[in-house]
Symmetry: C2
Subunit: 389 residues, 2 copies
Amino acid sequence: MNNFIFENATKVYFGKGCVKEYLACLSSHYGQTVLLAYGGGSIKKNGVYDEVMCSLKKAGKNVIEFSGIMANPTYAKVLEGAKLARENKVDLILGVGGGSVMDCCKAISMAAVYDGDIWADFWARQGIVDFEPLPLGVVVTVAGTGSEMNGGAVITNEDVKVKTGRDYPRCNPKFALMDPAYTYSVPKQQMVSGGFDILSHIMETYFSEPNEENVSDDISEALMRGVIRDLRAAIENPEDYIARSNLMWESTMGENRIIKLGKRMDFECHQMEHQLGAYLDCNHGAGLAVLHPVYYRHIYREGLPKFRKFAVNVWGISSEGKTEEELARAGVEALADFIREIGLPVTLRELGADESTDLKAIADSCNLAPGSYKKMTHEEILKIFQECY
Amino acid sequence: MNNFIFENATKVYFGKGCVKEYLACLSSHYGQTVLLAYGGGSIKKNGVYDEVMCSLKKAGKNVIEFSGIMANPTYAKVLEGAKLARENKVDLILGVGGGSVMDCCKAISMAAVYDGDIWADFWARQGIVDFEPLPLGVVVTVAGTGSEMNGGAVITNEDVKVKTGRDYPRCNPKFALMDPAYTYSVPKQQMVSGGFDILSHIMETYFSEPNEENVSDDISEALMRGVIRDLRAAIENPEDYIARSNLMWESTMGENRIIKLGKRMDFECHQMEHQLGAYLDCNHGAGLAVLHPVYYRHIYREGLPKFRKFAVNVWGISSEGKTEEELARAGVEALADFIREIGLPVTLRELGADESTDLKAIADSCNLAPGSYKKMTHEEILKIFQECY
């Protein structure tokens, strides 16, 4: 294990009925005014909104609503929420939704108290900031980003066409309420793209240096096998509580820093997808599904031992009669087969790209950290996009 | 996943050189007086004491030394440390050592501020306590108990011959400094018994309800395979940093609550070993090594599917041509073989028992929680002890 520092301050309340059981009590630890933030309103249809409101009313809260947070939340939306929070002297932000809502809320929790241009100083410049954001609690309704137990917020600045994220530990939610039954009503396509986002977080961490035997990779392999198993089960039966609860916790475990300890993450595929998202406004998990196999076909020869392990330990492929390269490639193709099996898109056209899409501009906008196996040039990124098209 | 609540407040600084790099700064967040607690003095021989003292002096601390903490720390020793902490108005307890030192320090951190009989109110009665212990930091020198990232303290009360433990989250160390190179000088026998303690924590958690596919068990299997691999490597080369650092982190992961989420632990084998320890004052890991295979031979028929998984997923035993029962038993025997391979004792006589040892009294003193697979009677516990003799 390489050197690391680990902390995680979020307190998690996990399981059926947790919102009803704990939200009123948890919110009572904060002041009078709660900013209730959510997305397009699905929480009003599935009963989550009512359950949350009932608890907040029980705790005697003054609730300010902030709705309409979009997939790929924009910096403009962050500023709108921050203004509302300041004007109403909000004591607690409560985000109810998936990754987009949680990320937007973290950004609001910073922007609401920061004196200055938080995009320029934090996201764009990646400079050091040192201040306490507004307290944030989250009610998770989708398994995917694992945003509930870290300080990361991925935000899209439409003016400069940049989608980027950063983990600021003080942005960790104070509490996260996670009821797996809330995910029953997530439509299949969103469920599998969220599921692929989980798998992708773990794969991108796994395929990062160092490659020696280490605990983080051991845990990652276990989690990947679990995600594959549980995603299949949840597709088979959307109300399979065991599968849904496993997926929800795998999502958190993928992004609560545990599997990243001692690793140097490059997250090249995520960075490419972020720029696809900034230009095409496509679904994040779907974008990752299109990119991953093509990207891995470009790098696996540079990381044969690790890709071989991936094939054997994650996909259970027998090594008998195969060269190391054949085995490594078989793992990548097993991943590609799985993506087709669960019904995710495999081309950029399915994500909304057409002849007018300037793939070169998107490739040139990618500002990738050096990869663990291979240095990606803008030419090779463009080639990957073209092969995905 | 069953419902759970998770939090873990300890901040971990892991890796070569971490004490020199962080201890002075970390201790500066607390008041003037530090209680420096340690064991029999090995830290004076291997240089750890000097490194710690140098950092504390650099931070301008007034250091009160409290040494001689024994394996199986006694309640009398806890009271002695608590008296010293009170008399000197200690601001921070710094425990330097393995599990015994850390557990003793947690108990001191409680006893030093508690008004009343903390043994009676906390360990014996398992009642609710609600107060803030003295702040505690730890420097870990042995991989084994994983005590550095939880609030658990196992204490032996010699007067009543009871060794018992409990996890009080506010007893979590504020910080844990973990330098794997510090473990190089741990003698082989202590290293393997610490290693087996790690494995045992994970096995006891794994062999607990529920038995459905769940993330905690997936991670446990990965950690068990890792401990087996890394223990073999560290025996082969005691200065194998990769193996030592993996073992150190596996130790923490076994006991930082992550693999226990959604599980109902029975820890029957630990409870039996605790009473062996209370009577024989034997090494904890060695006691567990003697008990585990015999205990598992008593219960595996009641948990065939789980023991079958253990055989296949942890020990890599092929299922071909074996009945479920044969496969399950093969896993238990693989564990027994591993215990012999790494040179741990296999009989109670090797732990100091002789004809004068009253095995019935020890068995009768075991107060076991209901097991996940089988209810253990005092008669069966005695039978296990006799088979171990």
